[in-house]
Structure formats: structure tokens, C-alpha cells
């Protein structure tokens, strides 16, 4: 075929597909368009450890192990044994291949983990694996991981971030594996057929996938940053599914014809951080007064529109459930009570209240929460001077620990292990710039407890977590606000289950009725 003919054929083909897409709802469809609110920037968790990137990665790259629907580690590419508390021996499945047809070796799997420890890679998952001492390929299809000391959270962390890619590819591209230019190769149910930051990602069924072939032949990801445009695209049927649903707007999504809105517990915690290094917030009575004054039920309703709960414990709700089940520990609570708030304030060094600058990000949800908090605090004489700044500027200042005061923080996590969250809250290391301890609370004692927690199991783990939570509840460096559900919208033409821990969404997505 000549070039001209080929080009004509391509145009004709494109036109027919353009006309046929959207038509014929009668036939079952095996391709799906997924709308993302932000563009995935990298298909490698080392440089794209964020919501959209990791979502696409989950369809292409398998992690060595998985989490089941209760949050317990389960085999995926490998099963494991634990020769001693501080080491794991992973045995790879027989006969698994990357989507380019090359077999997966123990060396590939080992390098896929050890590269996160290489400062040259500057991996965003590096802090997950600081406890790893040595990773080595041993024998036939086996990888041994030796930890510096026992760490029961290791498997959960591996289930999130130890994605297996070919060593050759990862070694050649330490800094730009997974970029639109380099792309990636994995063992997952899909393989990448196109990746661009502008026109989106196209995935096709991976013919050499080791598991049950996915029902979908093709998944297309499109980025639509404007939430209203995204909703209109779902409504018009141009987009079949999206995770870009803000629970606050739940009502807008629950009445869309032909679309199901799905809510499930989010592994996130929204709270107020009280920077206690200086000023009025240094006074514990002031912090308790704030905790009593904030009406978290109202804030939770405002921010989650009924798809979430007020929080009383400083941990994401799914982690609380995974650790304690229904048997919650008795922790001090600061119920919404203006009289108690005023009484605490009267005991403080600021009995008549005070004025405090409170910076916040001018876009997103922060402003709404801070206005509600400011109104609540005004009732006991604490006047917040709200200072908006552009989100990027606000975030860089916060991460530099510059002008910390009373801030709204909403952090999302990946594993069911409280040890992923608590160091962010009360370790002294995280109180340094680029750390997430914005209150600055942390003592030798909290560090010791965190240290004990990192290798604790069973009841010992519960004891340590409870002790830390109790200390947080007593000292009030943070005021927990709410746990919001995660939300997704899916066309009724398709069906899949969502839960907090499993990431097999794309392998399990299928046309409805099949």
C-alpha cells in the first residue's frame, strides 16, 4: 500500500470509529473510557506515587504480593515464607512473563525493590523501604529480603509499592522509567499501548497475563481537570467511569441517569494540625479548648455530604477497623461543648481569647473547612485571621514548615498499618522540613514507642498504637475532623466491586450482565 493510500485508509478508519463510538448500546462493550481528574505523570511508582498514576500502574504492573479485601497480605507474583522474623523468602510463580514476552526472573524482582533504595533514583517510595537491609536473588525464582529488624508492615508496603519491572529497562532509565517517552513493561492484566500527558493513556489486554484474562480488551484514560466538565462527560456517555468524584458533590453524581455512584471507606484522615512550638498553641489548654469548640459533626457533614463520619481517633477509619475491629479502645475525647471549651480557655494563659493567623490554600476544600473552624472558634474568643494563598505556594510553605499555625490537613495512605501514619504525626524526624509532622509534637518517648511499634505484632502492636493515640488525644497536637469515603462513578453498562485495599479494579471490570 502506498503512503497516500495508507493515510486515506487510516482517515476512513478513524472516521468510522468516530461515528460508531457512542452508538449501539445494545451490544456489550469491551472497551472502557476512564476519566481522571489529574494526568498520570509517570507509570513508575518511584516517580509517580500519586492517585492517578498509581491507578494506571495498578492495571499494568503487578506488585510482588497483594492485599485481600480485609487488608491482609496475599500472594500475587510470589508466595512467601518467613525464615526468621526479619527476613522474607519470596518464591515467584512459575512461567510468568512480562507483556513483551520475556520471562520474569528473580533478578528482575529483586532489582525492582532495591532500586527504590538507590538515592540516584530518588524514589518517592524510598521512605517505605528504609527498613530493608539487603535484597538478593537466590536460587530458582526466589528473592530473599533481609530487613534491618523485624517489620510486620513490610508485606503491606510491598503490596503497595514493590512493582516488578524488567531489570534491563529499569537500570537503563533510573530517572525516567515510566515517563511518556520510555513507558513501562509489566506483568499486569493490561499493557501500555499509548501514554501521553495530553491525549491520555491507552491500555490493551496483555496476552501473556498469568491470571484470568480481563473482560475488557481496551481501557482508555482521559484527563479532565474541571470537575463539572468531567461530570458532563460521564453524563453524556463519553466517559464510562471515573474516580474523580469529590464526595462533597455526591448529590450531583447520585442522580445521573445510567450512572452508579459508588462509595467506599477511604484510607485517609482529615484533621487540624496545631503548631505547638510557639504562640498560643503552645498552651495545652488552648489546644483542648479548640478541640472542644470545633463542631466536627457539622464539618463532616459539610465536607462529606453524608458519605463519611466525624473522626474522634487520629487514624484513617479503615486502619482503625483493621487493627481493632469493633472493639475500639477507650481514648479521651473532646466532644463538641462550648462551655467546656470556654472553661479550658479560661485555664490557659489566654483567658480572653487571642488572634491567630491561619494560612490556607485558596483552591480546593481547605478554605471551606477553615471558614467553618474560624466560625466555631470565634464563639470562644479565638479569632482566626484567614490568609489564603495559591495552593502551590501554600503547599511549598507548609512543607518547608514555614508559617505553621492551625492548618487543615487531609492525608491519604496506602496500607492498613498504623505505622505508615503515626510517624507522620508524632516522630521528631517528620517535624523537620519536608516531613508531615506539622504540629511539631514529638518526644524521645514517642520516638521510642514508634520504634517499638515498627516491629510489634498482635497485642503488642495494639498496645503501642493505643498508647500513642492516647498521648495524641491527651496532648491534642491534632484535632481529628472526619474520615471521608472515596467515591467513584461507573456507567451502568459496566460492573465491578470497589474496596479500600484491593487494586484489581481493571482486571475485574466487566460489561454488566456478564
Amino acid at each position: 500500500m502506498t503512503y497516500a493510500k495508507a493515510a486515506t485508509a487510516a482517515v476512513v478508519l478513524a472516521l468510522t470509529t468516530a461515528c460508531s463510538s457512542g452508538a449501539g448500546p445494545a451490544q456489550t462493550r469491551d472497551s472502557l473510557v476512564w476519566g481522571l481528574a489529574t494526568a498520570p505523570n509517570s507509570l513508575d511508582i518511584a516517580h509517580g506515587f500519586n492517585k492517578s498514576s498509581t491507578l494506571v500502574q495498578s492495571a499494568v504492573l503487578d506488585t510482588i504480593v497483594a492485599l485481600d479485601s480485609t487488608g491482609k497480605p496475599a500472594p500475587r507474583l510470589a508466595d512467601w515464607t518467613q525464615p526468621d522474623p526479619a527476613s522474607y523468602l519470596f518464591t515467584l510463580r512459575k512461567g510468568i512473563r512480562f507483556s513483551d514476552g520475556t520471562p520474569v526472573t528473580a533478578d528482575d524482582a529483586a532489582f525492582s525493590l532495591s532500586r527504590h533504595l538507590d538515592p540516584k533514583v530518588a524514589s518517592q517510595a524510598a521512605s517505605y523501604f528504609t527498613g530493608v537491609k539487603r535484597v538478593e536473588a537466590v536460587g530458582e525464582g526466589q528473592v530473599r529480603v533481609t530487613l534491618k529488624r523485624p517489620s510486620p508492615a513490610f508485606l503491606a508496603v510491598a503490596a503497595t509499592a514493590w512493582q516488578v519491572t524488567p531489570r534491563k529497562l529499569a537500570e537503563a532509565h533510573p530517572k525516567d522509567l515510566g515517563s511518556p517517552e520510555v513507558g513501562t513493561v509489566g506483568t499486569g492484566p493490561f499493557k501500555v499501548s499509548r501514554f501521553s500527558l495530553t491525549s491520555g493513556v491507552v491500555l490493551e489486554r496483555n496476552p501473556s497475563y498469568w491470571g484470568k484474562p480481563p473482560a475488557l480488551r481496551k481501557v482508555e484514560f482521559k484527563t479532565i481537570p474541571d470537575p463539572e466538565t468531567l461530570r458532563l462527560a460521564v453524563r453524556s456517555g463519553e466517559v464510562d467511569a471515573t474516580d474523580g468524584v469529590n464526595v462533597r458533590d455526591a448529590r450531583k453524581w447520585t442522580n445521573l441517569p445510567g450512572v452508579k455512584a459508588i462509595f467506599y471507606p477511604g484510607n485517609a484522615i482529615a484533621y487540624l494540625s496545631l503548631a505547638l512550638k510557639s504562640g498560643p498553641l503552645k498552651d495545652p489548654h488552648v489546644r483542648k479548648a479548640i478541640a472542644h469548640a470545633v463542631d466536627r459533626k457539622a464539618v463532616a457533614q459539610l465536607m462529606t455530604a453524608g458519605h463519611g463520619t466525624p473522626a474522634t481517633i487520629m487514624l484513617p477509619k479503615p486502619q482503625i477497623t483493621a487493627l481493632y475491629g469493633d472493639d475500639l479502645p477507650g481514648l479521651p475525647e473532646h466532644a463538641h461543648d462550648l462551655a467546656a471549651a470556654k472553661a479550658e480557655l479560661a485555664k490557659s494563659g489566654y483567658p480572653h481569647g487571642f488572634e491567630l493567623k491561619a494560612p490556607y490554600a485558596s483552591t480546593g476544600d481547605t478554605g471551606t473547612v477553615m471558614q467553618a473552624v474560624a466560625a466555631d472558634l470565634a464563639k470562644i474568643g479565638i479569632r482566626l485571621v484567614l490568609e489564603p494563598s495559591p495552593t502551590d505556594q501554600y503547599v511549598s510553605r507548609v512543607m518547608e514548615h514555614d508559617r505553621l499555625s492551625i492548618q487543615f490537613v487531609n492525608l491519604a495512605y496506602g496500607t492498613p498499618e498504623p505505622i505508615e501514619v503515626l510517624p507522620d504525626l508524632v516522630s521528631r524526624a517528620s517535624a523537620e522540613p519536608q516531613g508531615f509532622n506539622f504540629s511539631g509534637y514529638g518526644t524521645a518517648e514517642t520516638d521510642r514507642r514508634l520504634d517499638a511499634l515498627s516491629s510489634a505484632t498482635g497485642d503488642e502492636k495494639k498496645t503501642q498504637v493505643t498508647a500513642l493515640l492516647k498521648e495524641i488525644a491527651e496532648q491534642v497536637p491534632y484535632v481529628p475532623l472526619y474520615s471521608a469515603d472515596y467515591a467513584a462513578a461507573l456507567s451502568e453498562k459496566f460492573t465491578v466491586g470497589f474496596d479500600t485495599w484491593t487494586v484489581d479494579t481493571f482486571a475485574n471490570l466487566r460489561p454488566a450482565g456478564r
Binding site: A18, T198, I224, D226, L232, V239, D392
Partner: protein, 311 residues
Amino acid sequence: MAVVKRLCSAILLLGVLSVLTYGLLAAAPGGPEHVLLGGRPSTPETRAAIREQYHLDDPFPVRYARWLGDAVRGDFGTSIYSREPVTAVLAERLPVTAALAGYALTLTVVVGVPAGLAAAMRRGGALDQGITLTSLVALSVPPFALSILLLYGFAVTLGWFPVFGAGDTPLERLTHLTLPAIALATAQAAIVVRQMRAAALDLAAQDFLTFARARGLPRRRVWISYALRNAALPVLTVGGLLLAANLTGSVFVEQAFGLHGLGALLIGAVGQKDIPVVQALVLLGGAIVIAVNLLIDLAYVAVDPRVRRRA
């Protein structure tokens, strides 16, 4: 000689632009670490490695000189956010923005010039008042609000146009960009209408038009051959500026229609301190403005013989 002079001033302008942009970004709070660390907990080793890799501890002049040295050799660096070469990032987005800008400008001119001329011809009449009022309304509607309105009406309710994206084939691109181009062109067409009307009214009192009418030339000939040509200069200037503005800053419309163009890229890159991308974009913007101005000057020469003679 004039060419050399113009080239030198263009280079000087771009140089000043690049120093200013780099300096302002370097002076603003925060750095690219947040993007590089992905907003996640990090280890001190990772942070040190990043500072070293991106030379964040070097003083500003050294960093700027390093960037300039590479840029002069045609290497604009790698995007911090996407880890792609900056030229690839820009090349991917320029066609969308250029198509949108061209489409919008075409609509602006096709609607704005005749409407302005018609308003001037029927000065004070019902048509003039109607056009003036409509352009006032069009000028007052913010493009993003109009975008949402157009989306509801024509994409969702009527289903004539797609909701988002830029399309892949030329035909798809045309249908995808129609609503965004209308959203962008509405206010701009209103500006052109006002400009065209004012310019044509100025001319109406000129002797050569009176004389043309006195010679008994048909009204159409008088307005199109005499008035339109003479009114072209101010309109060309406005049109050129609108084109330059569309090529660099149609952010709201891009956002509303899910278009991944240069405007959205610039906003994102400034926020992420993606200095290589911002620098390249600012230079591209500068070059576009310079090129458009040159085109306007050339168009003056083509349209108006008086400019030619003066030169």
C-alpha cells in the same frame, strides 16, 4: 539593516524575559522538591540526592548560566514533572493551542469585521444598536461561564458536539474545538466589532469617502474597497494581539473543555516550579509576540501603500 536591528532587539527581549522569569521563580517560596518527592514522606538521603541532581544548592547566577548554556545549544532540559524533554512537552501541546487560537481568530474576524462595518454603515439605526448591545453582552460574559453554558446546551442537551478533549483526526479536531473556539471568540469578536465600528466611523467623515459617494459609486464599493481597507490597520493590530493572547493564555477555556494546551501547561508548571518548562514557555510566548508583531507590520505594508512609501 532594519532586519538586523529587529533581530537584535528580539534576542535582547528574549534574554531579559528569561532572566526575569528564572529570577522570579527562584525567588518565589518553595522549590521543585515537592513535585519530585510526590508530596510523600521522604528520606534525608533522597532529599540530598534531589538537591544535588537539580543543583538546587548552587547560587542563582550559576544555575541560570547552566540553563542558558544548554538552551543556546538547543537543549531546553527535561520537565521535572513528567521527565520528558521540554521540547517534546511543548510540541505535544502547541498543535492544540494553535488550532484553537487559529479557529477562534477566524471566527472573530469572520463575525467581528462584517458586524462592525454593518454597525458603522447603519450608524444610530436599529441594526447598529442591536450589534452594539450584543457586543456589550458578549464582552461581559466571562469565557469560563460561557464554556459551561455551551457545554450544557450543545454538548449534553443537544449532543451535537463532544464534551471534552481535542480529538485525534483533523475532522474530530474540528468538532472538538468548535465550542471552545466559540467560547474564546465571543468576547474577542465583540472587541473587534467595537474597534471596526469606531475605525469605520472615523473614516465616514473623511473627504475621500465623501468624494467617492459624490462620484456615485455604489455603497458596497465605497465601504468595502475604501473604508474596509483604511480601517484595516487598527483592526489588524487588535487581531494580532488577540492571536498572541490566544496562543499563550486561553487557560480558562482549555480548562473547561479538558484541552491540554499551553495555557494549562504554564499554570501547572509555574505551580510545580518546573523551571525548564516555564522558561521554554515564556521564550515561546515571547517569540510568538515578536513574530505576530512582525506579521502585523508586514500586513500594514501590504494593506497600506502609505506605510510602504514612508519606509
